[in-house]
């Protein structure tokens, strides 16, 4: 957040745009097109930049992008990996979490899944200071709120 303050004092910000875009799949179509076109940002430059930076993710993984648009029609953006809930749903192969978390268990996952998810999340700009163990704990916590049980080994 401190870097955002620096940016704010450097250049006047016009808007903050949040988007969900599939990795490697940014196109000048909705939602990217209208959201960026509104502020006359260079759509193509964003698409190319975003696609290049998300090449290492599996195609169509929904990435969270935050774009800071400046008044002079330039922009900066940061890309975050998908939410933990998305990864958990994907790992468990379910569409949505349990309707009554805490009471009804939707599905189970092994610690190995949690570990894999934690490794991906560690490369996120906001999680880099956390130890792998604490990331795992936080993911397990999210899993519990979704009604996903974490066991040591899946039979």
């Amino acid at each position: 957040m401190s870097t955002l303050k620096e940016i704010l004092t450097r250049r006047p910000v016009a808007a903050t745009i949040r988007l969900t875009v599939p990795a490697g799949g940014a196109r000048p179509a909705p939602p990217v097109g209208p959201a960026l076109g509104q502020y006359r940002l260079n759509l193509m430059a964003f698409c190319k930049d975003f696609n290049a930076r998300t090449q290492k993710y599996k195609p169509d993984t929904p990435m969270a992008v935050t774009i800071t648009a400046f008044k002079d029609n330039t922009f900066e953006f940061t890309v975050k990996s998908p939410s933990v809930t998305w990864y958990l749903k994907k790992a468990a192969g379910i569409e949505s979490g349990s309707s009554r978390p805490g009471h009804v268990i939707a599905t189970t996952l092994s610690v190995r899944h949690i570990y894999e998810i934690a490794k991906i999340k560690q490369s996120d700009p906001y999680c880099q200071y956390m130890s792998l163990e604490s990331i795992c704990k936080s993911i397990t916590g999210t899993a519990n709120t979704m009604g996903i049980k974490v066991v040591k080994d899946l039979d």
């Binding site: 988007l19 969900t20 799949g25 196109r27 000048p28 209208p34 260079n42 759509l43 969270a64």
Partner: protein, 382 residues
């Protein structure tokens, strides 16, 4: 239900550019907008549209909602200033495709701020907003209004912002509606539309500079992933005898054809081919393009080893996957240029292409890199 909400908030009082949206709302229906803005172009066929080669490995059955002309819902929400950020994050979790929070001007002291949000067409906006408000502990649902999304406004807006660019001394890229600042220089006139390649991006510039060094006169040039056709046109202006541009995106081919006409380049000097997005067989899904593609594929295939210069400005993954195909089009000893890669992605490209190329050199601009080399005259192991 949504119409009642709209009538409640008919009078928009916000500043900064949203007044344009309020005028548009009483505009004629979508089809009229469409024909007004593009009188010259043929209607866009709403099939699966892909941008560059990023579609190579997604399955053929892509959902219709990802096409260019897909309708969307535009929702404007008024809420308190201090919770705007949290609220927009919550909206994203509950189904919004995008949220935009405008910054307040210094003189504006109102407590409220507008969040512009875009939802996919079939999303239940009311449920989503109430869930989002719930999740951050708002006592009441903020007021909002829902509109159908405007299709072509944003395309026109981005096009308006193009200015002539001097890539290097004596080479200018000029949008169609502006006059070239230096009539003596080599001027490439462009109407980029929705295809990539306006000359602004570092990779386009790197490729143009490379092209300037490589083209001595009379070469055959292949633009692999041509986009707006900028590189193919530039090659002809530098003195190449023949340019061929290929792309998997039909919009790119249309765009390139238009740009060629703008520069008075006929189809015999600049040939354009639409090829299939899959690396193996032609696409089965796109019935409209099957005949065109099979004949084009044969044309391109028979053109193995015909080009003196090949440039591919795409993305890392396609460059790695299509390496053999790209190299196969070049004559032995021909110059190959690769770009669209970040500097940090260079090692992968080097690994993949060093068995295929000699004299590899790298040029970089900002975070982007361009790799050039000569095709090995004897390929060991193919």
């Amino acid at each position: 239900m949504s119409s009642s909400n709209f009538f409640k908030h008919l009078t928009l009082t916000s500043s900064y550019g949203f007044s344009i949206l309020s005028r548009r709302f009483i505009h004629p229906p979508l089809t009229l907008l469409f024909t007004n803005i593009y009188p010259k172009r043929q209607p866009l066929i709403p099939t699966k549209i892909s941008l560059r080669f990023s579609n190579c490995y997604t399955s053929v059955t892509e959902p219709q909602s990802s096409t260019l002309l897909s309708p969307y819902l535009s929702v404007r929400i008024r809420c308190r200033n201090d919770i705007a950020d949290m609220f927009s994050e919550a909206l994203m979790c509950f189904g919004a495709s995008s949220t935009t929070v405008g910054e307040l001007d210094n003189g504006d002291t109102s407590d409220e701020i507008c969040i512009e949000s875009i939802f996919p067409e079939l999303e239940d906006v009311d449920v989503c907003i109430s869930q989002a408000a719930d999740s951050i502990g708002l006592k009441e649902i903020p007021s909002y209004e829902v509109k159908a999304g405007e299709q072509y406004d944003w395309i026109k807006k981005t096009q308006e912002s193009f200015d002539p660019i001097e890539v290097t001394k004596g080479l200018w890229i000029v949008p169609e509606w502006k006059t070239p600042p230096d009539v003596q220089a080599t001027n490439i006139i462009l109407n980029p539309g929705l295809a990539f390649g306006t000359g602004e991006h570092p990779t386009t510039r790197l490729c143009l500079l490379l092209l300037q060094r490589l083209i001595k006169g009379g070469e055959h040039f292949l633009d692999y992933g041509t986009g707006s056709g900028i590189l193919a046109i530039a090659a002809l202006k530098f003195g190449a005898s023949l340019s061929v541009g290929v792309d998997i995106d039909p919009i790119a081919i249309t765009s390139a054809r238009q740009n060629a006409a703008l520069n008075n380049i006929g189809p015999e000097k600049l040939q354009l081919h639409l090829v299939s997005g899959n690396t193996s067989s032609p696409l089965i899904d796109e019935h409209k393009y099957v005949e065109k593609q099979t004949s084009c594929e044969k044309v391109v295939e028979s053109e193995q080893e015909k080009y003196d210069v090949v440039i591919a400005n795409i993305l890392l993954n396609p460059l790695l996957e299509l390496a053999d195909d790209i190299i196969s089009h070049a004559k032995p000893g021909a110059a190959i240029g690769l770009s669209g890669i970040l500097s940090e992605q260079l090692p992968y490209i080097m690994d993949r292409y060093s068995p295929l190329l000699d004299d590899i050199s790298v040029s970089e601009m900002d975070d982007w890199a361009c790799l050039s080399g000569r095709k090995k005259t004897i390929l060991t192991g193919g």
